[in-house]
């Protein structure tokens, strides 16, 4: 090798190193983008149709209105001035850069479990991979005393886990296989499934933050935007007892599987989050969820009962709500309640239908639902709302029929139940936002 070549070789080596470093940065950024998907940051911090992560989405809570902050790296209106340590403290502990405590709408009790590696990647992604957007989000409209931030610090101190403990605790757990371990991390950590699917105490903290905290974990949450998140535990009628791993994977990827379809907030969780996960991570979540025992293990399992279907097929619509069901629902969901999955979801044996709280079912009947297109399933399906066509009595009768037919065994619904849901049901999406297939 001549001396002349040395600097060239050196330069090539230097360049190669530079490229490697750049590639490593790219990898971290890409990984951070993936972490953002698993943590579903976009669903809350983006107004549909507007710049990603620029905030402004409204959250109507019983205590007032919250507005998701701008988390783009814009220095003035976003998180551009956050150091990595400040960023991680905010995500894991809910402490803003100025020291104020974030409302626990931000699921930091779950994020506390996120690894250093994931949070580093997430920081790199937000600082380098997200376009800064100058968008000052309006101040929160919380009513007093919830407008005060200081009690939040007390709440945080009382109920949010210390990240170090949380991580240690996770590390100490044993799992049947690494996939379940990964699933546990995703569900309890970044995925923050419990934020919606675990019941909360009067003081608003989740009654369980992980599987080891007991069987209330993911046993079904309180209303979120009027939707009632179902149990993700192994309950046969009201949980995922009859869903197998592949059913869950399919649901996370597409929002549709033979036993049900996504609605309410889960639609966003799938759109922004779970559909973008790797098949391996989707399987990890499925396998982990299948390890959760039923809350009420002694409850009788669901089996199909043909009585209602036979009656309808014979033209007998004498049962309460039967004629209404035939006139409004059966075209897509069939007289046998089995519908045409995965185009139109079944009502027979559907956990949402048998949920002790009928709110989700009532809301779907009133407002309809859009099953959105996903990467794997380009077709969207729209159920119209029946709020204008059916009064409270008619909806109550219909829902009562659905909850009692085909082996379903949920209690009847009264017109006042419907009226309560109707009061909080908005007109629905503008036609322009409906899918175009």
């Amino acid at each position: 090798m001549s001396w002349m070549r040395l600097p060239v070789a050196g330069m090539i080596a230097f360049l190669a190193l530079g490229i490697a470093a750049a590639r490593a940065d790219d990898d971290v950024r890409e990984r951070g983008a993936y972490v953002a998907r698993t943590a579903d940051c976009e669903a809350c911090h983006t107004v549909p149709g507007q710049a990603p992560f620029a905030g402004g989405l409204e959250f109507h809570l019983p205590t007032g209105t919250l507005y998701a902050p701008n988390i783009t790296p814009d220095a003035r209106t976003g998180i551009g001035r956050y150091s990595e340590a400040e960023f991680i403290r905010a995500v894991r502990q809910g402490i803003r850069r100025d020291g104020a405590t974030l409302y626990p709408a931000m699921p930091y009790p779950s994020y506390a479990r996120m690894t250093d590696e994931d949070l580093h990647a997430l920081y790199v992604y937000f600082m380098q991979g997200v376009k800064p957007v100058s968008h000052a989000v309006v101040q929160d409209g919380m009513t007093w005393p919830f407008s005060m931030r200081w009690p939040l610090a007390v709440w945080r101190w009382l109920f949010a886990p210390n990240p170090r403990d949380a991580l240690q605790q996770s590390g100490a757990r044993t799992f049947p296989d690494p996939l379940v371990a990964r699933g546990s991390y995703l569900v309890e950590g970044p995925g923050h499934c419990g934020a919606c699917h675990t019941p909360r105490a009067v003081t608003m903290q989740e009654k369980a933050l992980t599987a080891v905290d007991g069987t209330l974990y993911l046993s079904g949450g309180g209303p979120v935007d009027g939707w009632r998140p179902v149990s993700l535990r192994g309950d046969n009628r009201t949980g995922l007892g009859r869903w197998n791993e592949q059913d869950i994977v399919r649901f996370l990827a597409t929002g549709r599987m033979p036993l049900g379809a996504a609605f309410g907030g889960m639609t966003d969780a799938i759109a922004h989050g779970t559909q973008h996960m790797t098949p391996q991570d989707q399987l990890a979540i499925a396998r982990y969820l299948k390890t959760l025992s039923p809350l009420t293990p002694m409850a009788e399992g669901w089996t199909y009962d043909p009585t209602a279907a036979d009656a309808l097929r014979g033209g007998d619509v004498s049962a309460r709500g039967a004629r209404l069901y035939v006139d409004n629902c059966a075209a897509c969901h069939r007289t046998d309640g089995r519908a045409y999955p995965t185009t139109f979801p079944p009502l027979a044996g559907n956990p949402v239908v048998m949920d002790p709280t009928p709110d989700s079912l009532i809301r779907i009947v009133l407002a309809g639902n859009t099953l959105r297109a996903t990467r794997q399933t380009p077709s969207a399906f729209v159920m119209p709302g029946f709020a204008a066509r059916m009064n409270d009595q008619a909806v109550a009768d219909t829902v009562t029929f659905i909850r009692a037919a085909w082996g379903n065994n949920a209690p009847p619904v009264s017109p006042s139940d419907v009226a309560a849901v109707r009061r909080t049901t908005t007109g629905g999406a503008a036609p322009a936002s409906l899918p175009l297939n």
Partner: protein, 595 residues
């Protein structure tokens, strides 16, 4: 280029018309890595809005106010029966119902989905082989397509898989596999979905037709008989025989449409752009007129744009394609006096009459139950499936019960048996009896092409943009009337076997001119036909303009003469056929694909 038009950023391909042909071509061109702009004159459309349950199940709006159809107030055609008459504007929707809006007529069609019979594709050759050249009547421009069934088979197959077509095959790879149409040619695969169930009337017809000795089969229907995922990954629901097909967007997502079957994938393709409410005025050409440079269109705000493109694909409705060619000077206009020129030549229609059969008053025919493409047919008198020699006419007609769902206003207008008044108590009694206890049988015949039946530009009337309307010169000819009358008599045999209480056979009558006031069918064809001879066809066998090689024209305009079958399956297959040759040959080396 127009002086006052705003010139847009060039794209690879511009497609004129957002129906089946346009959506297929756009899909194929984006798959080939080409940027595509698809221009559609009408509004964007979707099942959620236009097929909402139950609000869209409104017969008045759908079938009598033509919610999804062409806006005739802006653009129509003029019609006359012969060149001695003054053609007059088609002012109100009646004889035929062209579509408008994204999805085109493919959104509100019924769904009967056929392959073209092999003999129809080379009808001139076949007739000469069987009966001699002199069998062809004077003035009939009988022609071959220039493409064979074997060549098109993979594209028929592809279209069926994309549409989710339900049907029963007869022969696959030369082996009999099922109870399909015994006259149908061998296929490379079965239908993607099993045949739809027979409604009661179709069931009765199937039995009776077999008794008479005919060969009934299930109509191939692009109404999904169960849930389906097509090769593009889009989903369809199953048809539940709701009876709201023709004129409606299918709320069950079970009738194939560009909107449900192709556009969900296309809309999110980065190389695809759809521009609704853009009406194309003309194709632009370069100075020597041998190459198209793009199209000029006017948008909803009245602004005029020129969209430059390397490739221009016309996929509008049959007669709009022909008109655009005439307005743009692509191909030599047809001259009926000398039988020369090609654009406007061989304009054809379809030769349909509907007969009614009344059954015992105890039999309820439930005509409101139906699927647009469903039913039972026999082909014993279609195409070259029977000996025309002693009969002395060219062409044929399938016969079928295609109960697509008869709704209330249609029932009222159909009235009672012949001789019943159109109103009053007698009408009421006859109309109710007819609705409850009758069924309808169609002779869905071919219409041959004639030298003096053609399309050109009208000298008097203009559209909303100041361009001349298209003029149709059309009438029924004795050959076609004889064919219809022969086949309708066979319907009489079947009606008898059904135990008809009363039969009203409707035959075409000699000397009765084409009447624009009564609905016939929207299956118009020809006018810019495909073929192997540039003297008798506007397009070569790849649907490429003989004269302007970067213009392809896809549609029923390419049919050299009419056929007994519904055209959509053939149009879709021709689109895939043309796209295949564009992708494999033309894009690499643009130029004429046929010499």
């Amino acid at each position: 280029m127009s002086a006052d038009a705003r010139r847009l950023r060039p794209v690879d391909v511009v497609i004129v018309g957002g129906g089946w042909a346009g959506s297929i071509m756009a899909k194929e061109m984006t798959e080939a890595g080409r940027s595509v702009v698809m221009l559609e004159r009408g509004a964007d459309r979707s099942t959620a809005a236009d097929g909402a349950y139950p609000a869209s199940l409104d017969e008045l709006e759908a079938n009598f106010r033509y919610r999804l159809f062409q806006d005739l107030s802006k653009n129509t055609v003029t019609i006359r029966n012969n060149s001695q008459q003054t053609a007059l504007p088609y002012r109100r929707m009646s004889a035929f119902l062209p579509g408008e809006g994204v999805g085109g007529a493919g959104l509100h069609w019924s769904g009967v989905h056929f392959r073209m019979p092999p003999d129809d594709l080379r009808l001139r050759s076949r007739v000469i082989e069987k009966y001699g050249r002199r069998f062809i009547p004077e003035g009939m421009n009988l022609q071959d397509y220039g493409v064979t069934y074997e060549e098109l088979e993979p594209f028929f197959d592809k279209a069926e898989k994309v549409f989710g077509t339900s049907g029963e095959a007869y022969m696959v790879d030369g082996k009999v596999v099922g109870n399909g149409n015994v006259f149908s040619p061998s296929r490379s695969d079965t239908f993607p979905l099993p045949a739809l169930k027979d409604v009661y009337t179709a069931h009765l017809f199937r039995k009776a037709a077999a008794e008479v000795g005919f060969h009934p089969y299930s109509l191939p229907a692009a109404n999904a008989s169960r849930q389906y995922v097509n090769p593009y990954g889009v989903q369809m629901g199953p048809c539940n025989f709701c009876g709201y097909c023709s004129g409606y967007a299918c709320y069950m997502y079970s009738k194939a449409s560009p909107n449900v079957n192709i556009l969900p994938v296309l809309r999110r393709h980065p190389l695809f752009e759809l521009r609704p409410r853009c009406h194309v005025l003309r194709v632009e050409k370069d100075a020597d007129g041998r190459r198209a440079t793009g199209v000029t269109y006017i948008d909803a705000q009245g602004q005029v744009f020129t969209q430059p493109a390397e490739l221009v694909i016309l996929t509008a409705f049959q007669f709009h394609n022909v008109r655009l060619m005439l307005l743009s000077g692509i191909g030599r206009p047809y001259d009926p006096v000398h039988n020369e020129g090609v654009v406007g030549r061989n304009f054809v229609y379809q030769n349909v009459t509907t007969s009614t059969v009344w059954l015992d008053p105890k039999v309820e025919t439930n005509q409101y139950i139906g699927a647009g493409g469903g039913g039972v047919a026999f082909d014993d008198f279609n195409s070259e499936n029977f000996d025309h020699g002693p009969l002395g006419f060219v062409g044929g007609s399938p016969v079928w019960v295609n109960q697509a769902g008869v709704r209330a206003i249609a029932a009222a207008n159909a009235g009672g048996p012949p001789g019943t008044p159109r109103w009053g108590s007698a009408w009421k009694a006859g109309m109710i009896d007819t609705y409850r206890h009758s069924l309808r049988i169609d002779a869905h015949g071919a219409n041959m092409a004639y030298r003096d039946v053609y399309l050109d530009l009208d000298p008097t009337w203009k559209d909303a943009y100041g361009q001349p309307l298209l003029r149709m010169t059309f009438d029924w000819k004795d050959n076609d009337i004889r064919m219809n009358r022969y086949v309708v008599d066979r319907i009489g045999d079947v009606a008898k076997a059904m135990g008809a209480r009363r039969t009203h056979l409707v035959r075409r009558e000699f000397g009765v001119p084409f009447d624009t006031r009564q609905y016939q069918t929207t299956h118009l064809g020809g006018g810019a036909v495909m073929g192997e001879d540039p003297q008798t066809s506007a397009l070569n066998r790849y649907l490429q303009s003989w004269d302007v090689h970067n213009v392809f024209v896809i549609g029923a305009n390419a049919f050299p003469q009419g056929t007994g079958y519904n055209p959509t399956g053939m149009v879709a297959a021709l689109a895939y056929w043309a796209a295949h040759h564009i992708r494999t040959t033309y894009l690499a080396q643009p130029g004429p694909l046929a010499g």
